[in-house]
């Protein structure tokens, strides 16, 4: 089911839909499959998501559920040789036009302009996007000049200004230092500075605080919220930390084995989760302040091999409420307004 990605062409640009509330990015039925020697991994298998302007979408789920592959698919960074991508990635560009990223060549000029210039990504490990042999300042300057016609001097000033914006003390000095001279928290800040240096409208953050201590995590999350307010960017916040999602997200999507199983505004998803998987995740973790030694009720069993996804509901073999019907895969039901759940129990609004 390889999609025929046409090269850069106007044909890929779909007419802009009307309405002020059109989302910045709309993902429709995204499938990203890897053909490996030992079978096909349906890493992302029919995902629908949307990110509104100036909003934060939290993407959660356990290891291997497809969070990073979703992010890389948006960025056009999935390794091509063995991959098949289908679906739509409708992105509203700064000039008002809409483009389907799934239809354009990842190496095309358009995609390269969007990547970094309009959609930026930050990673768990800053060293994957910072080059150890260039100074921090030079890397940010280069990122700026890649997307904006600015003389070197001006770009350098902007780089220093960005480092200041992300709360790095003495930014002039830091800008001439190399990544290894910075602490983990500072490197993460520098990466955020680089990501935001070209004024992207969407920031895809893949586990941006997972490798950091809690006190540094708190600093980075506060920084991201402040910058979102100042720059009006939209954020896709990928994390396996449910607490981080509560602190950051307006909306949450919970993934399991390549699919979104629950999706909705943050509050109802956490206060009244509908899908047994989400309920199980929340029961698996100790809650700070719970005082009494309450026994945890973790989800039983293991995530199945992604090459052999079970037929029917993918969560069935671990679900405490499994029924006969679960041999058929449930669609996404809407048990409450804007609150979606892929479980037969949600069919009757439950």
């Amino acid at each position: 089911m390889a999609s025929d990605r046409s090269t850069d062409s106007a044909a890929a640009t779909v007419p802009a839909t009307s309405g002020r509330h059109a989302p910045l990015l709309e993902i429709r039925d995204l499938k990203t499959w890897f053909h490996t020697e030992r079978g096909t991994v349906r890493a992302v298998d029919g995902v629908d998501l949307a990110v509104g302007r100036n909003r934060t979408l939290g993407l959660v789920g356990e290891s291997g559920c497809g969070k990073t592959v979703t992010a890389l698919s948006i960025m056009g960074l999935v390794p091509p040789a063995t991959t098949a991508i289908s679906g739509n990635l409708l992105f509203r560009r700064k000039d008002g036009s809409e483009v389907d990223l799934a239809q354009i060549d990842p190496h095309s000029r358009t995609y390269r302009r969007i990547r970094g210039g309009e959609i930026a990504m930050i990673f768990q490990e800053p060293m994957t996007s910072l080059n150890p042999v260039y100074t921090i300042g030079n890397q940010i300057r280069e990122a700026i000049q890649l997307h904006q016609e600015k003389p070197a001097g001006e770009a350098r000033e902007r780089a220093v200004e960005m480092l200041r914006q992300v709360g790095i003390a003495d930014p002039e000095q830091r800008s001439v230092e190399y990544p290894h001279q910075l602490s983990g928290g500072m490197r993460q800040r520098a990466m955020i500075a680089m990501a935001l240096s070209c004024n992207p409208s969407l920031l895809v953050a893949d586990e941006p605080t997972t490798a950091l201590d809690v006190t540094i995590q708190a600093q980075i999350l506060e920084l991201m919220q402040r910058l979102q307010g100042e720059f009006g960017i939209s954020i896709i916040m990928i994390t396996h930390d449910l607490g981080v999602v509560v602190g950051m997200a307006d909306e949450v999507a919970v993934m399991y084995l390549g699919r979104v199983v629950e999706h909705g505004p943050m509050r109802p998803v956490f206060k009244a989760p509908r899908h047994p998987y989400t309920q199980g995740l929340l029961r698996s973790i100790p809650v700070l302040g719970a005082q009494v030694r309450q026994r945890l009720q973790p989800i039983e069993g293991l995530v199945p091999d992604p090459r052999a996804t079970p037929p029917g509901c993918r969560f069935a073999d671990r679900c405490p409420q499994v029924m006969e019907r679960c041999a058929d895969e449930p669609p996404l039901f809407e048990p409450a307004p804007s609150h979606l759940s892929r479980c037969w129990l949600s069919e009757a609004g439950g």
Binding site: E62, S63, A169, S183, G184, G185, M186, D213, V214, T215, I216, Q217, A218, Q219, L221, E222, H240, D241, L242, G243, V244, V245, V246, G247, M266, R267, F270, K271, G280, L281, L282, R283, S284, I285, P286, V287, L288, G289, A290, Q291, R293, Q294, R295, L296, Q297, P298, I299, E300, L302, V303
Partner: protein, 373 residues
Amino acid sequence: MIGSPAEGGAGGGAAARTVGAPLLEVRNLKKYFPVEGGILRRKVGEVKAVDDVSFTVREGETLGLVGESGCGKTTVGRTILRLEEPTAGQALFRSERLADEGLAGEGTMVDLTTLDRERLKRVRREVQMIFQDPNSSLNPRMTVQQILTEPFLIHGVGGSKEEIEERVVTLMGQVGLRPEQRARYPHQFSAGQRQRIGIARALALNPKLVIADEPVSALDVSIQGQVLNLLEDLQVELGLTYVFIAHDLSVVEHISDWVAVMYLGRLVELARGEDLYRNPRHPYTEALLSAVQVPDPDVQRKRIILEGGVPSPANPPSGCRFHTRCSYAPQADRMPRCNTEVPELHRAGGEQWVACHFAADLDLRGVEVPATG
């Protein structure tokens, strides 16, 4: 000093567990690593990874050890086990084995830091460690069967081949692994299952004390929950005592009776878990707790954002090591003391010990009790 942390407090604990006398008493433990420099690799300084740490762990209880990366948690564990040679201090352990064999000397406790090799080897059967990363601690070329048989062979115990094999089957059952899979290699198991193999190996020789260094940090939350339950069950079943090292404050609260908070090689607070989380007495504990992201939208908490990162342990701040980040220190009447005088861990009422000069004056905020659901 009225009451030192080494004296501990009255044991409460969960009903199903029997809590007894001190099993481990760590006293003024220090571990300094040399910092070498220059072409001659001469010692140019020291990293005071552990600098005067004292605590007591009672039989059947769990002491949680928390703190940010690099504060010395792992080094405390490794030094107690003599995987690192301590620079100073004592780690007193009540060894039944040495006592039974008449090798314990006078008193009921032996000092692990001064034991000779022969006696240390015997004691190792009673004190075991579980590591964060089972991948690097399990030999990839050995089957689970071989991994779990090794401790018996090293110590020349466990009886006949058949008896050991039977014990391996029991161990696998205890940690929730299927004994049919004992001919498999570590890479054929999931991360959570590999951690179970590590736990089974630690339990092979019936230890009394288990030092668990971040045993669930690398695991997905559902598997983390399963392993935490397993550790709790095994504690009751086998009467184990745990030193549980972790940076996740929610996990530590869940599993610990006592919690010790470390900062730059020193304990800043030590208390019963409920006291420490409800009423922290040290500014660092307060800040750490406030930084935790709780997965409950109704818990609105005022966050104390600490400035900067942890200073280098090779060159720690003078006086109170926390003074460079402490929000209570900058007051004119406090700073002169905070940045010159090292605060000792002292009793702050009840069963709570704190190392802050102004603990008695500060009104710190703990964790709210979440609405029960």
